[in-house]
Structures are given as C-alpha cells and as structure tokens.
Symmetry: C2
Amino acid sequence: MAIDFKQDILAPVAQDFAEMDTFINEGITSKVALVMAVSKHVVEAGGKRMRPIMCLLAAKACGAEDLAQQRKLAAIIEMLHTATLVHDDVVDESGLRRGRPTANATWNNQTAVLVGDFLISRSFDLLVDLNNMTLLKDFSTGTCEIAEGEVLQLQAQHQPDTNEQTYLDIIHGKTSRLFELATEGAAILTGTPEYREPLRKFAGHFGNAFQIIDDILDYTSDAETLGKNIGDDLMEGKPTLPLISALQHTTGEQHQIIRKSIATGGTAQLEQVIEIVQQSGALDYCRKRATEETEAALAALMALPDTQYRQALSNLAQLALHRIQ
Amino acid sequence: MAIDFKQDILAPVAQDFAEMDTFINEGITSKVALVMAVSKHVVEAGGKRMRPIMCLLAAKACGAEDLAQQRKLAAIIEMLHTATLVHDDVVDESGLRRGRPTANATWNNQTAVLVGDFLISRSFDLLVDLNNMTLLKDFSTGTCEIAEGEVLQLQAQHQPDTNEQTYLDIIHGKTSRLFELATEGAAILTGTPEYREPLRKFAGHFGNAFQIIDDILDYTSDAETLGKNIGDDLMEGKPTLPLISALQHTTGEQHQIIRKSIATGGTAQLEQVIEIVQQSGALDYCRKRATEETEAALAALMALPDTQYRQALSNLAQLALHRIQ
C-alpha cells in the first residue's frame, strides 16, 4: 500500500505543525523592510517542511506531551535550512528553486548573502531563547559541520578522483547533519538523552539516503516532474555518487568521458554521460546504497518505543526511498 | 603630545593581546583544507585588531584580573569581524582589503560566502563554550542587528533621499554594534553588569565616530595613504554623511549633481562631486559630528574607575579622531 504524506506522516503532528508554521512567520521580525521582504519570500517558498516535521515527530516519539518548546525548535530548524538554501542558490547561481525565482534572482547576490546572514543570526537568537546549553552546543557544532560540508563540496568540484568516502563526508555535512540536529534536538529538549543517539543515527542515515536519491534523480527522467533538470550536477562538475560509481563501472573511452566531464563540467557531452551513467549499472549501485542507508535508518529507530510517531518517521524514510522505485 | 598606538593603547594589555592572537589561530580548526586556507588568509590579513584590544581593555577597566575568558571572547570578536568582512567583500565586489587580495578575489565568491558562513558558525561555537547565557543572548541579538545594518545599507544604496537618521541606523548596525559587543561582552564576562551600559555607550559613540571618520576619508586625499581610493563609496552610490551633508549645504545645479551621482553611482562626475563635497562645508559638518560622537564616547567612559585601562580606551577614541585632524 502506498504511503501518503499527509495521512501517514504529517497527521500525528498536524496541529503542532500548523502552530509551528505560524511561529516561522512570527520569528522573522525586522525593522528593515528589505530583510522582511526577502525573508518572507524565501520562507514561503518552502517545500514540505520535512525537517520540522521530523523534529515534531521525534519529540512525540520520545514521549513529549506538550510540544511548546519543540515547535519553536522545529521553526528554527526550518529557518536555518532556509538560510543555507539562500546561500546555496548564490553559490550555485540558481535562478529557480521549486519552480519559484530564488532570492538572488529576484533581488541580487548581495541581498541574498546578507539576508542569509540575518537568517543564520536570527536562528541562533531564537535558539538562545530556548535556554538549553546542550542544545546550543549541538547546534553551534552542527552548523560548523554544515558549512564545512558545503566547502568540501566546492573543493571536490571538478575533481574526478573524488571517492565515495569524500562524497559521504560532503552529504553528511550539507544534508544529513541538519536532519540529525532536528531529531537530536527534539530528544535534548524533551529531556530524553537516551534517545539522542538512536535518533541521530536514524536521521543521519535517512539524510544520506535522501541525498543519494536526489543525486540519482539528477540522472533519471523522473527528475523533470520535480522541477529539477537532468544533468544539473554534471553541468557544475559535481562528482556525485552516480558519477563516482560510473567511474567504477567503466573502462577505456567511457571512463575517460566521465572523468573529463567532471573536470570540465558544462554541456559538451551531457547526453553521452547521462547514457553511460544509465547503462553502466551505476544507478543500480546508487539505489542499493540508498536502500542500505534507509534500512540502517529504520533499524536505528527500533531503539524507540513503538508508537504512531515512530511509525510516521519510518513511513517518511520509506516514502523518500519510493521516489526512485 | 601625539598618541602612540603601541605605547598608549596596546601596552597595558600587550601580554593578553599576544595570547589572544594565538587563540584566534587555534580557534580556526577544520578538517577541510579549503576552510583552513581561506580562514587563515583572511584572519592573517587582519588590521590593528582594534575590537579585541577594546575588549581586553574594557575587561581590565572593569577590574578583571585574569583575562582567560576575555581573551577567548576577544578572539571570537575578531573572528566574527573577519566573517563580516569576507561577506562584505563579496557584496562590494572588492578585490583588495588593506592592500591584500580579498578571499573572493583569491578564490571566488562561492568560497567566500561559504567560508564566511563557517566563520560565523565557528564564532558561535566558541562563544557557547564560554557558557554564559547573558553573553550569548547579547551576541545573538547583536549579530542580527549587524546583518540588518548591512541590509539597510544595501536598501539605501542609490537613494538620494536617505537622511542622517537612516545613515546613523546603518553605521550603528554595520560598525558600532560589534564595538558594543566587544566592550559589553567584557563587562558581562567580568561579572560587572554595572559597567555594561557605560561601556556600550562608549563603544557605540566610538563606532559612530570611527565610521564617520572613515566616510570623510573617502572624500579627502589622506585616504590614499590608508589603502583606500577617493570616491569608493560614491562609485557604489552609497549615501554616506559627506553626501547627505553636501545635499543640505547646496542648492540648484550642485545639489542636482550630487543627487544624480547617488542615484546612478559610477565615475561620470566623480571629480566634480568630490569638489562640491570638499567646498560646500559638508566635511566641516562631518568633522563636527565625529568630534561630538567622540566626546559622547569619552563622557560615557567617566562612569568607570580611573585606571590606565580606561585611559587607554580614551586614547584610542582620541587617536581615531586624529585621523581627520
């Protein structure tokens, strides 16, 4: 039976989610009109708000009854996520995100850099109000690792020798770490430190699977339905797992074509590279890795009590995997 | 008698300053080579480290004996300052700072944005280690205001109707707020909350004077000796106090030339505008305002005990003012 996002994931925390969403908007306050306009624009362009939902579900799965604090945390996580997207779009020179014009495209790079800085600072400001030193330390260390993951990705750009371990380091920083903060943070705030480690593992593996799946979609036609273009990563010379795996699966001319396309980026041999990736068995390997990461995520969840909230987290991980099935 | 920076300002905290400098370098740790390279580059390109010196002097002026914690705070402030400079240089498309190539020029905008993000996060991470909630709240609110000041400056760009109050709001955010954090933070860490307000006032007025002086130097030939070009702000259409004041001091054609040059930026009438600013009495007004701000800073200092450290802070304010005399 197919998993339904609203019914099988969101429903158990729907009320808290709605209140959380209000808090995101209330949390963005500034006397500077341009700060307000840009912040509203990027926060409203948000997607499914997967990170805050995970935070709320994790809190409930830890046994929290009233989520007053955790709703604020969930909103902060979405704000932090938004801040990283605003800077990512500057870095990638993206004009569209989820079909809407990005901040850098609507205004300019300058505005996007500075409003991104505001959103990072405001996230910390709201986080300090939660008055929990353990939480603050987790987040301050975590945001360093997120930034490091982004820089590592930049460092690996156009490097055909990038291996799977470096790829995993990159995606742990740029993607999985924030999922970890969302769920670990919920355990910290709920006062159930015993669930911190299993939730971190769940979120870390989930994040890895999520990013591997995203990188697979960059090489499959399904991507068009998601507002993503095939070959975006390739154009930028990003050595994602499909390319790393394709290098493992090929020799001779095909191998050289992929190496060269990572090194140079651009469109020159775009269709040829996509064909090699699709026919080399690289995508099968990526799907296998995404499935393994999802299974590791689900296994970690078993340390938590069997509740509808744990089930919803499990459903989320399975739904993400369905994107490539 | 002329004030000497080393003798009359730095000397009373020279030993702590040296240890603080070591901590700045130790504080920058990352497994990512590119993060290390860029961070070292920008931190080493630092200037006189005025903010950390003020922090150390303020701590001593509050009666602190051992500065173990305050040295860390001083290093964090310099790191935060460096982070804002890295993003400023992206925003202003600057190729040189203090005669050295900027991060965006040496690497690229992408790297500068992301390493700037790392430095902001790392500053917070080190700040959390100081384990002081009052300090954390002051800094998290303060960094929001710094970002807002930067965005307000962007919003005012090319706006000839910008008034002196808006200009003061901009410079309070982009410049004075970090000076305030440096000295207020020292009072908080030293456990002398009674000195927090006078030190904040001192640093706020000092910062205003400092920025007004910097903006005057953009229109006087002395600037060339400081590695700054005449007319940089004008080129970018920034309505700084010399231009705002020149609009007050002129009518007719001269008035229109200045309005137009703010609105359009660029070089078209550069020399003419500089001449109008210099001859209109605008710079005299700016010097008067810088002097008033310096006097307000010195007056606020009087709430602190009469020590060599208070004297050194006073010397610093007077030395800054000498730049335009």
